[in-house]
């Protein structure tokens, strides 16, 4: 007996818009929650609780504004844009606090890292990511963790394309330097 293909994101969005179908929206959340939460954890320097609060806010905002979704873009690109905005608003509220974090406070969210095979390397990476500026971290989160192209990242972050490219280049140079210094010292 042939199995029904899984509905696409667009099918689920239409079901929400046309029938107020909450199960379809729950399916969308389930599909995208892991990536959105991962991106937000990297943006919030590993603060899992804050990242999850922002992820929840992101999906609720997506629900409220689903009618404004244009089907030319991927749903994931659209939701990351909401997530980046939520993070930027939060960062603006507590900017001094995030700038004052020291290395000891930058431990990664334990549950996400506990099951990783090379925990030490990931802790080093997480710490190195936390030393980046907000813009550099956002560019890395968009291009690597959200898997957006530079153009999509520029749109999602509301930055010029050239700025995104520069942020990625500088961030990678800093990460390489920090990780190789760590390798030499250990």
């Amino acid at each position: 007996m042939p199995t029904m293909p899984a509905p696409t994101d667009a099918d689920l969005i239409l079901a929400v818009l046309e029938r107020d179908d909450r199960r379809a929206f729950a399916e969308l959340v389930q599909r995208h929650q892991s990536k959105v939460r991962t991106v937000l954890r990297r943006l919030t320097r590993g603060d899992a609780a804050l990242a999850d609060d922002l992820a929840q806010e992101t999906f609720v905002l997506a629900w409220r504004n689903l009618r404004t979704f244009r089907f030319e873009a991927r749903f994931s690109t659209w939701i990351y844009r909401i997530a980046f905005n939520a993070w930027q608003s939060e960062a603006r509220k507590h900017h001094e606090v995030s700038l004052d974090l020291d290395d000891d406070a930058l431990l990664p969210g334990s549950d996400a890292f506990a099951e990783m095979p090379d925990v030490a390397a990931r802790v080093d990476l997480e710490r190195a990511l936390a030393t980046l500026s907000d813009g550099e971290r956002a560019a890395i989160a968009a291009c690597y963790y959200a898997d957006l192209s530079h153009e999509e990242a520029a749109r999602a972050l509301g930055m010029p394309l050239g700025t995104v490219k520069t942020h990625v280049m500088r961030a990678k140079a800093k990460l390489r330097a920090r990780l190789s210094a760590k390798e030499k010292s250990s």
């Binding site: 107020d20 929650q33 009618r67 099951e115 990783m116 990931r122 990476l125 690597y144």
Partner: protein
């Protein structure tokens, strides 16, 4: 493998780590605004009130104000007669109701 490849590989491997769902979807769903009970009720009330008001205005209007005559006056551009003004007022009330409904739509 050069340092750039290694860093790319590390970042992509880190990005692939799935975060367990752990009831996250249920928390999001419970934070959504409640379902609107009767989506058709509000437009019905607004337009119904406007229509009822118009019908009452027609029924209770003084004898010299004939709404049908008013619309004919307006259509024939006979200037603003008393029945014409009444017709114009009725049309304006319905238009305002429609604008309120459109502005209220998400």
């Amino acid at each position: 493998m050069n340092a750039d490849d290694k860093l790319d590989r590390m970042l992509r491997a880190d990005a692939r780590q799935a975060i367990p769902e752990d009831g996250f979807t249920a928390r999001v769903m419970s934070a959504l605004p409640p379902r609107a009970p009767y989506r058709w009720l509000k437009p019905l009330l607004v337009l119904g009130s406007a229509a009822l008001g118009s019908a009452l205005a027609v029924l209770l209007a003084p004898a010299q104000i004939n709404i049908v005559q008013g619309f004919l006056d307006l259509a024939q551009m006979r200037g603003l007669t008393l029945p014409g003004a009444a017709g114009l007022g009725m049309a304006a009330a319905l238009l305002v109701s429609a604008i309120v409904l459109v502005a209220d739509t998400d």
